[in-house]
């Protein structure tokens, strides 16, 4: 009996240890890929058309989902905000509420989550399939570095696209909030815009939002690239990698958001 218990305990601890080692290994491999991506980024800037092409695939192709989502999020914020604010007789502050919620938090965070689901999965699947079909090996054998030619342009495209998408998300969200608050509910047009103008600070709100979106851009794109690059070269491997991209990116974005917000509020 004792020996069975001991064996099970040993197995359990071995399993935990193995998983921990695997996680640490993946973290190290991810950091190494990030470092190499930065080192081999010169090509992405020298031949900027490679990066621009990826900006189209990651950024422009994500526009529709970003704009539609932003519009609905803004409208919901307008409705919920008005419902609460009118209880305190300050329904004119609806513009500030919508704008601050979007610029500080929802813009960068929701954009990053949507980006991970739309562009992140596409990046992982594409690179995973390139690996499965030996395209990356073929590149290596042609003396072309796949990190410089494939990974780095996609990385910089993600980093460039994310703040632009987040800014668009906030703009369209404010428009959605405006449509609900002003024409539909009847909040004063001037109050909506003037309160927003007076209370949204460029440094504290907009710049901080941009910083967040850049950090999320680095994180989401790097996770997607690493998962694709590290995917086992099988159909099942690519499918698992794609799922992991969404899960890890989403959790990383939410965790990073807390860390960044706490720093920004302290500062």
């Amino acid at each position: 009996m004792k020996s069975i218990l001991f064996n099970r305990l040993t197995k359990l601890l071995t399993g935990i240890g193995r998983r921990m080692i695997e996680r640490i290994w993946r973290l190290g491999a991810g950091a190494r890929l990030f470092f190499l991506t930065i080192v081999y980024s010169g090509e992405s800037f020298k031949r900027f058309h490679l990066t621009l092409r990826e900006v189209y695939f990651t950024g422009v192709m994500s526009l529709l989902i970003i704009i539609v989502s932003a519009f609905f999020v803004g409208m919901v914020l307008g409705l919920q905000g008005y419902n609460t604010l009118q209880k305190y007789g300050s329904s004119e502050a609806i513009g500030v509420l919508v704008a601050l919620s979007l610029v500080r938090e929802l813009g960068p965070v929701v954009t990053a989550l949507l980006f991970a689901g739309r562009a992140g999965t596409a990046i992982t699947a594409e690179i995973g399939l390139m690996k499965t079909t030996e395209q990356l090996s073929a590149m290596e054998m042609m003396a072309v570095n796949p990190i410089a030619r494939v990974v780095a342009p996609r990385f910089w495209a993600g980093v460039i696209s994310m703040p632009v998408l987040a800014a668009l998300f906030s703009m369209v969200g404010v428009l959605g909030g405006y449509i609900v608050a002003v024409p539909l509910i009847g909040v004063d047009d001037g109050a909506f815009w003037s309160q927003m103008q007076a209370n949204v600070d460029v440094r504290e709100d907009i710049i901080n939002g941009v910083i967040k979106s850049v950090v999320f851009g680095v994180a989401c794109t790097m996770i997607a690239l690493f998962e694709g690059f590290d995917a086992p070269p099988t159909a099942e491997g690519v499918s698992h990698a794609t799922t992991r991209t969404v899960v890890i990116s989403s959790l990383t974005v939410l965790g990073l958001d807390f860390v960044l917000t706490s720093f920004m509020i302290t500062v």
Binding site: L129, T133, E134, Q135, S137, A138, E140, M141, M142, A143, V144, N145, R149
Partner: protein, 271 residues
């Protein structure tokens, strides 16, 4: 300059505790077509990856043009690879690029040639494999044989000294197989290159190879000209060349006694 462009010297390679190759010696003379043959999983493709410097041997050396491959840094390996071309088993064409752009890829990446010259060179390479008219197609629009020919045009885009072929005949119809067979020999002779073919298709390989190595159980089991090997009485070579079902390479994967396993199953059913 030695007469051998590639030399595999006493190489051992293994991973995950399993030794795939044990003290393998091979030489690949300049201008010849040399084949490496063996059953599936015998480590033939791994030998190509060792020559290309994608993996390092556990012991021994691979020398390309007199340089030890695994002693080179990244820059050195890339310089060596510029003298090599490789045809992958399924072509490995870049699916987001057209046929033209696939063949132009190594020229655009590795040379400073002007675009009009690249255009002429690409069309010449495609003409050599009979697919000049398909230069605007995407890889998804090509048959398996056509994709292999485009990949061949890409592999020889920069006129390499060494051309490596990984299972060039696998999964092709007889016509495509004949075309690829002819192309390998004619391109080798036209470019004055050395070709290394990894294959298990006996008929086609014997038709074009000057020399053949047989790999089995991690070792060179036999070597010689196709003619010598056709007449070989070595049991493994005989089984392989004549496609016999049973022999030194057993039909059955190692397993416990058939009868006792079946009886064990019946006993379990009774319970």
């Amino acid at each position: 300059m030695t007469s051998n462009i590639v030399e595999i010297d006493n190489i051992s390679f293994g991973y995950k505790g399993r030794l795939l190759h044990k003290n393998i010696n091979m030489v690949f003379p300049r201008g010849k077509v040399v084949a490496i043959m063996g059953g599936s999983g015998s480590g033939k493709t791994t030998l190509l990856r060792l020559i290309g410097g994608q993996i390092k041997p556990t012991n021994g050396q691979v020398r390309v043009n007199g340089k030890v491959v695994h002693e080179q840094n990244r820059k050195g390996i890339y310089q060596l690879r510029r003298t090599m071309g490789m045809l992958f088993q399924h072509g490995a064409l870049f699916t987001d690029l057209s046929v033209f752009d696939n063949v132009a890829f190594p020229m655009r990446e590795l040379t400073d040639l002007p675009e009009p010259m690249i255009r002429d060179l690409v069309l010449m390479k495609l003409n050599a494999v009979g697919l000049r008219g398909a230069h605007q197609l995407m890889p998804t629009e090509l048959s398996g044989g056509m994709a292999r020919r485009v990949a061949l045009a890409r592999a020889v885009a920069l006129d390499p000294n060494i051309i490596m072929y990984d299972e060039p005949f696998a999964g092709l119809d007889p016509i495509s197989m004949g075309v690829i067979c002819d192309l390998i020999r004619s391109l080798n002779d036209a470019l004055g290159a050395t070709s290394i073919i990894v294959s298990h298709d006996v008929k086609e390989t014997f038709l074009i190879a000057d020399y053949v190595y047989f790999v089995a159980n991690g070792e060179v089991a036999a070597e010689g000209t196709p003619h010598d090997l056709m007449l070989s009485t070595l049991p493994f070579v005989h089984q392989f060349v004549h496609g016999e079902k049973d022999g030194p390479v057993p039909f059955h994967y190692p397993a416990e006694n058939y009868q006792s396993e079946l009886l064990k199953q019946s006993a379990l059913m009774k319970i």
